[in-house]
Symmetry: C2
Subunit: 546 residues, 2 copies
């Protein structure tokens, strides 16, 4: 059977636009003489639709759009993800996350999702019931075993610890499927594509069936979907791979012969960079922003964010602001100007010092001779935030925040200061990873000036300040953070591995007590298995200490 | 049987503190010669523990603390909510939300929660498996039918639309319970206590069994738990009611005779006010803040927040800042001063005008002759935010935001400006409700000056501005918002009811498109069935339009 995967980029809630993409993909498939065209999970409404699913008017509009699509199908099959409803059922939500198989003008078969994920960024039990039935459907000469995303993540042969008792894929195999199809919308994390390949290779080899795995691409708020759709033969070999971080249209002949795909993932810096560029591009594009604004400090974080903005929106759509104070090193401006020149972007230079001085003068009666502390540091950062927001408001720019994951984790950031902005572009990237990305950007040509890479990280909010005055060295810090956050290890295990229980405790404490700042952070583009934001729900007011 | 309910206030994660409260309550019950002492759901770890549950070290500490408590019991029974684990089970989380019945030095019986709520603010499927068994347990001369919170919210006799197929209470009744016990941690919303009474009255009458319903009290971040534990006789009569919004210790004799409780709820303003006072008091107390700070504008919102702060923390722990600009009406300061005097609190008066002028001067080259717009308005609000945050940082005050639900819904608020603060005290209170609360506060004595109540609401960010320049009249706006948010009605239904489709569309659009601001809002104390925050998950980037 010839099957096309439309690895396309939907917009959450944009039923008209997503419908058009489905119809255009269908026409292209028909032109290419395929038997079946497949779109990813919940493509028609975009994923994740979140509480839109709770709106009846929304669900009705999705149903209407689904029917309109089905009406326009001919002999060629079309599978796309949509929401369906059981209006008879008076218990539970009655709402399903479904794959609709359409041809000859109608919806001919519906398979709903059986395993409903409810961990990390997934809240699907909030909206969807589990499928009541799992069936194979005969289409042309094949018996299609259709499943949705999570359904394929519970293989007893692959997982040591399973989340669910049911294995819907086993059921499809037992019912005599000749081709497995999975439609998916699985958010990106570095390393996950490789894991998918391994898992699905085991599955297809053991079940001796080909698998067509259609993935979503594009970013929806903080979640990035990386494409990378996969077609496996019945020996577990990966025959085709969709482009990562781009729309793609793949045609797979389940009877064809292919050279196996060697690698599915590039090294971290390349993957992360592509993901973040797509993340920013889609956030801007889908919210209607043409231009982005970055506060350029002379440090490496804002340099990388600026580079990402230029790649996402084009040099002429990126504007930067330098806002020196009396604590800014002379190098800060010079290095920034070099970067501005390398990238060919426009810039502004506004001092904050007179306003800092005036504000502190006015506050004197309240401060009443109390000595300087972080208040004065935060104040500078917040005044910079005011400038950036004013320019963003006046000129309609999307303001990008420049905090990295190490800072956001430890609270080394000023609320309403450097945390101002619509999107935290590198908020899921550790400081040590920022350097890896910088080296990758500079692989052929010095784009990020070496001075910016070499200088000791500093917030420049007091004389001769460096990050290491307040934080442990970044390589150690990031190691601890990664174990704590992504690997979900805890105090004892981390201490044993790192060897400094006191320091480990201090770091975990910083992470835990700064939850109040993260509550008010901009959405953070997610590129790891555990990003701050939606997928990590930590109480703000709490007293647990390891 | 004589049963004591300890309606106590735990702190999330404070295992030592919560353990002490359990032991103290147990001793008191023993002294009072009761047979059984009951604490609410997950009392030992505090509710909701959120992702703390995913930490093995946390779960182990909870287990250890549970065992320590059990060891200290004698003949008198003790039931408390805790986390348990099935270490054998290799599928799913293996973690349970359980009621532990302890006596004679050990945990004698465990009943875990069967119905796992996963809607609105509840994410329990993320953490907990459903109980594998539902059993009645014989204790002294009775057969106890123990359930946990949600278990009792699925009565087929009461609900037209049920969430779950299973009815654990029916099972307990069928198994021959002689007393029903439910331990609960159900967040407050106005009207819910009345609903609970109705529902549980139907249930106890139909099942012909007494019910002891132990509720939690206290606020955990944004969620307020209102106490109001209930004891029903087997005729459906409410014999006892725990104090609302306070700790309480109730003793109920299931064979005793009581005068029925007439009313369970006070009118809205009184209930809301008590809830918000508790919310702020616990947020401050549990995070270690002694003092609160409010920016006093001369409007009614900041006046009410200041009153709440005074009630929560005491007049000498509340400080306000007046920050007039050239657009502030002379009345603003005069009215504020009257309030300050009425409340007996300290205050500061700092003009923002010189800094506004200086900042705009410095921005001139960037703004390049563009005309004034909301940028200049936002800038004033943000500068006020900087003053407030500086004072909060320097003096260690908890900054309260003063935005109401009508403003937060429509985005009539400045991000990083008046939205600065640790807690949105009245963020779940509509503007029209704010007036009701003001009248209630003034019921005996004019505390909120009449001038503040009477003046037209205004942000005072441009000359002669009033809220109604940008927003529909508040009574209409709030009616639409309430239908849209709490009642989950949608465009067509609201238009039919309100009669102005164009205006309704405009309002819903304002709500939807301002999600990005709410993403970065402070936690909002919840007093309605649908507050902004954790219980409402709306995509930021989306294009659905009604």
């Amino acid at each position: 059977m010839k099957i096309a995967i439309c690895q396309a980029n939907p917009i959450v809630g944009d039923l008209k636009g997503n419908q058009s993409k489905i119809l255009a993909g269908y026409r292209r498939g028909v032109d290419e003489n395929v038997d079946l065209i497949i779109f990813p999970e919940l493509f028609l409404c975009g994923y994740p639709p979140l509480d839109l699913v709770e709106k009846k008017e929304f669900r009705n509009a999705v149903r209407k759009a689904s029917e309109e699509i089905a009406e326009r199908t001919g002999q060629t099959g079309l599978i796309f993800g949509s929401i369906t409803e059981d209006y008879e059922d008076k218990i539970g939500t009655g709402v399903y996350n479904s794959a609709l198989l359409c041809y000859n003008g109608g919806i001919r078969f519906i398979q709903s999702k059986t395993l409903i994920p409810n961990y990390d960024v997934f809240d699907e039990v909030r909206y969807f019931e589990s499928a009541k039935e799992i069936n194979v459907f005969g289409f042309k000469d094949e018996r299609l075993g259709i499943s949705i995303c999570e359904d394929i993540w519970n293989d007893a042969d692959y997982w040591k610890h399973r989340r669910y008792t049911l294995d819907p894929i086993q059921k499809l195999v037992d019912e005599g499927s000749t081709i497995l199809i999975n439609i998916s919308a699985s958010p990106y994390a570095y390393g996950k594509r490789k894991q998918k390949r391994e898992m699905l290779s085991v599955l297809t080899r053991n079940d001796n069936l080909p698998l067509v795995y259609a993935c979503c691409v594009g970013a929806q708020s903080d979640l990035i979907f990386d494409g990378g759709s996969m077609c496996f033969n019945s020996n577990g070999g990966l025959d085709l791979l969709g482009k990562p971080f781009e729309e793609d249209f793949l045609i797979y002949d389940t009877k064809g012969r292919y050279n196996l795909v060697p690698e599915v993932e590039s090294p971290f810096p390349e993957e992360a960079l592509k993901g973040l560029i797509l993340g920013l591009k889609d956030y801007a594009g889908k919210t209607g922003f043409k231009k982005a604004l970055v506060g350029l400090s002379g440090g490496i974080d804002s340099a990388i964010v600026t580079f990402i903005a230029v790649e996402a929106l084009g040099a002429r759509n990126v504007d930067v602001v330098m806002m020196p104070s009396k604590f800014s090193s002379p190098g800060s401006i010079k290095d920034s100007e070099k970067l501005i020149q390398n990238l060919g972007i426009s810039s502004h230079n506004i001092t904050i010092q007179p306003v800092v001085d005036e504000t502190l003068e006015l506050l004197k009666p309240v401060f009443n001779g109390m000595k300087e502390d972080t208040t004065e540091e935060n104040l500078q950062s917040r005044l910079r935030g005011i400038y950036l927001m004013a320019i963003s408001n006046k000129l309609g720019y999307l303001l990008c925040t420049t905090g990295n994951k190490s800072e956001i984790a430890t609270g080394y950031a000023t609320l309403y200061g450097d945390m101002c902005g619509a999107l935290a572009v590198i908020g899921d990237v550790y400081k040590t990873q920022i350097y890896e990305i910088a080296d990758f950007i500079n692989r052929d040509k010095k784009i990020i000036p070496q001075e910016i890479i070499d200088k000791a990280p500093s917030a420049e909010l007091r004389p001769n300040q460096t990050d290491q005055d307040s934080l442990p060295p970044y390589d150690l810090l990031d190691r601890v953070l990664k174990m704590y956050l992504e690997e979900q290890k805890e105090y004892e295990e981390i201490s044993k591995s790192v060897g400094d229980p006191f320091l480990v405790k201090k770091i975990l404490r910083l992470v835990d007590k700064n939850e109040f700042k993260r509550k008010q952070a901009a959405p953070i583009l997610r590129i790891s298995t555990k990003a701050f934001g939606y997928g990590r729900r930590y109480p703000i007011v709490q007293r647990w200490r390891n």
